[in-house]
């Protein structure tokens, strides 16, 4: 056990994966000497050399496409997309190649890529630096999508993602990079699957589902709610595609109430899938329709207003009040 920041934990996980498998290579803009704009790959080029940690030309489609080519020859590339908003030039290569090659070739070609994406807002950045594009990828068959919320998971899941023979999008909540936590570096990677959700806080009245950057916020909301007499069970999904619905279902069967929160825009966001699937699975257990507390259907706003767009403790609690039938922002409407 050692204490380290979130960012450091990813770095340690990458290092471990590179030590264990010479076929693991890192690719991306500014990841070499600079160690990435967030310093996640700090020191790795120095230790593993320019052939294992490659600074790429400034072209995301090019990075993704060449990573695929390396996978054809047995490599396991880990691609860093510098910021969420810069993944779109690579969208075609991800959706038409990374996601489909295994299916296209009847399993002959494996694309064990890991695509690291620092995502989400709250860091006061200009446009395109604070997006939450995960729903584009969770709707793309052939991809696995994960997000992590703490240093231990960051460390564990990055290695599981790299070890996976399927392509994995690994979403890193950049505003949590500096959060510290205990990390067991000798963890057994096979013990728990990358695909499982985790109950963060147990509770009996409301199930609160989230992932990535909002897990700490959700935990705080559970504490605040409990001061108010409401027992909230917080679930950290970790895997966004597929979602471990069994865990969520078990919780909702117990609580009868579901609140989902994410930073991404509401319409067509992951919350819709969670609400729809859990309604299918738990219809007769539900006391209230699932409630979504999310970003608005707007482009990510300029930073002075970003904390209106981002769900926070109070908005989550308002959602809890809604499913509990307590006074809330919509009370006048809901009658």
């Amino acid at each position: 056990m050692s204490s380290m920041t979130f960012g450091r934990a990813i770095n340690a996980g990458l290092r471990k994966a590179m030590e264990n498998d010479p076929k693991v290579v890192l690719m991306g803009e500014d990841i070499g000497k600079l160690g990435g704009v967030f310093r996640i790959t700090d020191g790795l080029q120095k230790d593993f050399g320019e052939h294992r940690v490659m600074d790429s030309p400034l072209a995301e489609a090019g990075i993704m496409g060449t990573a695929i080519g390396m996978a054809y020859r047995g490599y396991r590339p880990v691609v860093e997309i510098q910021f969420d908003g810069f993944i779109y030039p690579a969208f075609d290569q991800i959706v038409c190649q990374v996601a489909k090659l295994h299916y296209r070739t009847q399993g002959k070609v494996k694309v064990p890529l890991t695509i690291r994406v620092p995502f989400g807002g709250g860091i006061g950045s200009p446009e395109h630096h604070s997006e939450s594009p995960e729903a584009y990828f969770t709707h793309t068959s052939g991809l696995r999508v994960v997000s992590v919320s703490n240093p231990q998971d960051a460390y564990t899941v990055i290695q599981q993602a790299i070890a996976s023979d399927d392509p994995v999008l690994y979403f890193e909540p950049k505003r949590r990079y500096h959060v510290k936590g205990e990390v067991n570096e000798d963890i057994d990677l096979g013990a728990e699957s990358m695909g499982s959700a985790r109950v963060v806080t147990e509770g009996s009245d409301v199930t609160l589902v989230t992932y990535g950057p909002l897990v700490p916020t959700a935990r705080d909301a559970a504490v605040a709610a409990s001061d108010d007499g409401v027992s909230v069970e917080v679930i950290d999904l970790r895997s966004l595609a597929p979602i471990d619905f069994a865990t969520v279902e078990a919780s909702v069967r117990k609580t009868g109430r579901l609140v989902i929160t994410h930073e991404a825009a509401q319409s067509g966001g992951l919350g819709a899938e969670i609400a729809a699937s859990i309604t299918e699975r738990c219809f007769y257990y539900l006391e209230h329709a699932p409630v979504r507390i999310t970003g608005f259907d707007i482009p990510y706003p300029y930073s002075k207003l970003e904390f209106h767009h981002l769900p926070d403790l109070d908005r989550i609690l308002d959602g809890v009040d809604r499913v509990m039938g307590r006074t809330n922002s919509l009370s006048s409407l809901e009658g």
Binding site: G69, M70, D92, Q97
Partner: protein, 368 residues
Amino acid sequence: MSPAQDEDFVQLLTPSGARTSGEYDRWVEDVDDNVLMSLYEDMVVVRRIDAEATALQRQGELALWPPLLGQEASQIGSARALRTDDFVFSSYREHGVAYCRGVDLTDMTRVWRGNASSGWDPFEINMATPQVIIGAQTLHAVGYGMAIINDGDDAAAITYFGDGATSQGDVNEAMVFAASYQAPVIFFCQNNQWAISEPVGLQAHVPIARRAPGFGIPSVRVDGNDVLATLAVTREALERARTGGGPTYIEALTYRMGPHTTADDPTKYRDANELEDWAAKDPIARLAAYLEERGLFTEDFKASVKAKADDVAREMRAGCVNMAEPETMDVFKNVYSSPNSWLDRQQDHYARYLATIDDTAADAEGTK
């Protein structure tokens, strides 16, 4: 807007079959009569494959076919230059290349019959399966080349794409990466003058081969209807790749004599005269003339080539029409390489659904 066509290009065999000589001779010094005859055979066979597949499409056995008619020399000349351990990333029209890689004939028709999304195991013949997204495969080739460097190997990657593809961002990014990493990659552009209905002049304001040098990649323009010249320039490029010289770009000037695919009607957008002009530069006819001149184009030889082409066509047709139908539940296979709770649930549900339908059908049968 038309790029000059009359520019210099590498040619070793004129349209009438005369052997010219020049600096590229040294790349084909070892091409003896036997090799010449086998190049001829390959071109005739792939033209026959193409005709047979087109017929199969007309007969409803294939859903679609993109003919290579006219591009035999480009494909055979370049593919015959490759080593087994080189790797090919092609587009959808490279049936001739696949043939040279030793693809199973049935596998060649699999995609076009709608029985699979790809025909063969890429690692059995070191050739990726056809790429439909224009230009995407060029980046894969460069990445493969980067991996070759990491492995310290002397293999090469070659990528085939069309004149239309040169407009895509991916193809240009591929050149950036190839130059930056000095990857052992050959960019083989078959400029067949058309991208569906769009003439090459819409894509390129100057001859295509001029583009690569601006990225720091040497390029060469070759008569793509001359199998010897194509072989020569590809060998030169491979030699450069194997010896640390980095990428090469080849523009092979050729012509798509048929429609874009069997679904296309080129009379809507192009002149009959153009086709006539190009027919006079036919890649097979000119090698035939050269063989004739060398006294190799005997009745025996012609008969043996014809027999071979007939055999191949027969085998392909038989493989195609007798191909096993895909199993219904295959539709769920190979999306992931390990269990996936979302998809597994859908698969399970669909199996139940099919069983219900069968029951219903059986019930209906029973009550009849």
